[in-house]
């Protein structure tokens, strides 16, 4: 089993138009989806992210506020899952409620070792 990080972006524009009932139903589907992954024993962790942030860069450790990117590019949250391969991880991702929204995306990334970065 490998670990895959599912990254959620977008969807905020549509979510802002939701009625309270729609929000509740949407959150229920997130719970069902993540609950299903947990029940199969493949959930490692899951958290939504707030839109606030700090960015440190380079040797100077220069500190700036926020991710400073376009709204739809902002990382909205993540789920870390165990899966046999990319296909299995993508299969899990297909049911993600972020894909109920036109501008919503799920990026599936395999966790690896630092070797790949040299």
């Amino acid at each position: 089993m490998k670990e895959y990080l599912l990254l959620f972006r977008g969807g905020d524009a549509e979510r802002k138009q939701f009625s309270p009932q729609q929000i509740e139903a949407h959150m229920k589907r997130w719970t069902e989806w993540i609950g299903g992954i947990a029940q199969s024993g493949n959930l490692v962790g899951a958290q939504p992210l707030t839109n606030e942030g700090r960015v440190l860069s380079g040797t100077s450790k220069k500190l700036t506020d926020g991710p400073f990117i376009e709204g739809k590019e902002i990382l909205g949250g993540y789920v870390l899952v165990k899966a046999a391969n990319f296909d299995a991880a993508v299969k899990i991702s297909e049911a993600c409620p972020n894909l109920e929204l036109e501008s919503g995306t799920v990026e599936v990334r395999e966790t690896g070792v630092m070797d790949d970065h040299y």
């Binding site: 229920k28 609950g35 029940q39 899951a46």
Partner: protein
């Protein structure tokens, strides 16, 4: 508005007692059995919030729903705040309570009305874990499921608050160390485990019914709560055993007589002198219905037989016209399946009634393990009655004195004192 408002305080304390038990059961399921103390804290906090707000704004129409919403929000805030410091829930709910995506929906779902009864049932089974002593089981049930304070439990069981606190502490530690699961036992275990729960309910009911030393209000609430607990078992398809219905019947029959058992001064009125018009017919009918429901399966439990005895008393038009022979046959049966010195003693009281003092005295002397009765006031009280019938007031007096010294109940003591002084004259 003045700070003290007796109407609100009274409504609130009764409502709180009952709702607190339900809320602790739900919150313990959410937080996990290792966090009972936390569940109790949140409930306490909820009740304080209610008291403050209701004093100003009055009691809301649906007070129960109000309490549950407040408790839920407090629980939710607490979980969100503690996200990674404390582990909440069980294997299934733990990851869902840790994630911001799922925590709110999960808590909402766990708070759904139709799940609460199962939560109480699970909690009841956990409280009656086979490795806990009877007294620890009962103390925990009264505290967590029935909403009694440590002080009230101490009063009801004639013990110190310190002892009660220690029992609760040890039991909660046991839950934490052994990671006790909140589940309804599986089919193989359910009969045995349900019987353990019934035993605790029976002891709690007896305490409420027989104790004349605790305050009237606590006593009535203890009875009411034990009936509610047994009803939970009777309403759930997994726990509908004949014994459960038999205990329900027994409690109904006993409770039907409770208004006639004490006079205005709080003194005991003995069965022959009780005003039978005061007996609650509706409860007797309810008890009979439970008796009908209890009549299946292939085993007669002690609850069946005790309910049968209580029923005979309930339907007798007078003390004299009671079907003593039938009652004696039930007692004989009871002594065959579960002989204890105390049941033998009760059987012999009927023998005394039917066959006279000489036979009763002979049988009393033949009881096995009689020494266990030597600290029991009723034993000496019966000996007193027997010697009185045998025209030996001097020995009778000695036994009555011994009985009076042994009972802790003030009303029993007065009753015995009256007998002693009538002998002196």
């Amino acid at each position: 508005m003045p700070d003290q408002n007796p109407e609100i305080e009274n409504t609130v304390s009764h409502l709180f007692r009952h709702q607190a038990g339900k809320m602790v059961a739900v919150l313990t399921r959410i937080f996990g059995s290792h966090n009972i103390a936390l569940a109790e804290d949140v409930v306490q906090d909820t009740l304080l919030t209610a008291l403050e707000q209701w004093k100003l704004k009055g009691i809301p129409k649906d007070a129960e729903a109000w309490l549950f919403i407040v408790a839920k929000n407090k629980a939710l805030n607490l979980i969100k705040k503690q996200k990674s410091n404390v582990l909440f829930g069980d294997e299934i709910t733990q990851p869902l309570l840790q994630s911001g995506y799922t925590v709110e929906t999960t808590v909402n779902q766990l708070f759904e009305e139709n799940l609460i009864k199962d939560d109480q049932l699970r909690m009841m089974f956990a409280c009656c874990h086979p490795e806990l002593s009877e007294e620890n089981q009962i103390t925990l049930i009264l505290k967590t499921l029935c909403g009694f304070s440590t002080a009230e439990i101490a009063k009801a069981f004639l013990t110190s608050e310190d002892t009660v606190s220690k029992r609760l502490y040890r039991t909660k530690e046991f839950f934490r160390e052994n990671k006790i699961q909140l589940t309804i036992p599986n089919v193989d275990e359910i009969k045995k485990r349900t019987n353990a729960v019934l035993n605790s309910i029976y002891l709690i009911f007896n305490e409420g019914y027989n104790s004349t030393n605790s305050e009237e209000l606590i006593r009535k609430d203890v009875i009411e709560e034990s009936v509610i607990l047994c009803k939970l078992l009777a309403d759930n398809e997994h726990t509908q055993l004949p014994e459960v219905f038999a205990l329900m019947a027994l409690m109904c029959f006993h409770a039907s007589r409770s208004e006639s058992r004490l006079n205005d001064e709080g003194e005991i009125i003995l069965l022959p002198m009780q005003d039978r018009n005061k007996w609650n017919r509706a409860l007797i009918t309810e008890g009979s219905n439970f008796m009908d429901k209890a009549a299946f399966g292939n085993a007669i439990s002690t609850y069946h037989l005790q309910a049968g005895i209580a029923f005979e008393h309930c339907i007798a038009p007078s003390f004299e016209k009671t079907n003593w022979h039938k009652i004696l046959s039930y007692y004989q049966w009871l002594c065959r399946i579960a002989s204890t010195p105390v049941t033998e003693l009760n059987r012999i009281i009927i023998v005394f009634q039917l066959q006279g003092a000489a036979v009763a005295l002979k049988e009393l002397e033949a009881i096995e393990n009689k020494n266990k009765l030597e600290s029991y006031y009723l034993y000496y009280s019966l000996l007193g009655e027997i010697y009185l019938k045998l025209n030996d007031p001097a020995i009778a007096k000695k036994h009555f004195e011994k009985a009076a010294a042994l009972t802790q109940s003030k009303t029993e003591q007065r009753l015995l004192q009256n007998k002693i002084s009538s002998l002196v004259q």
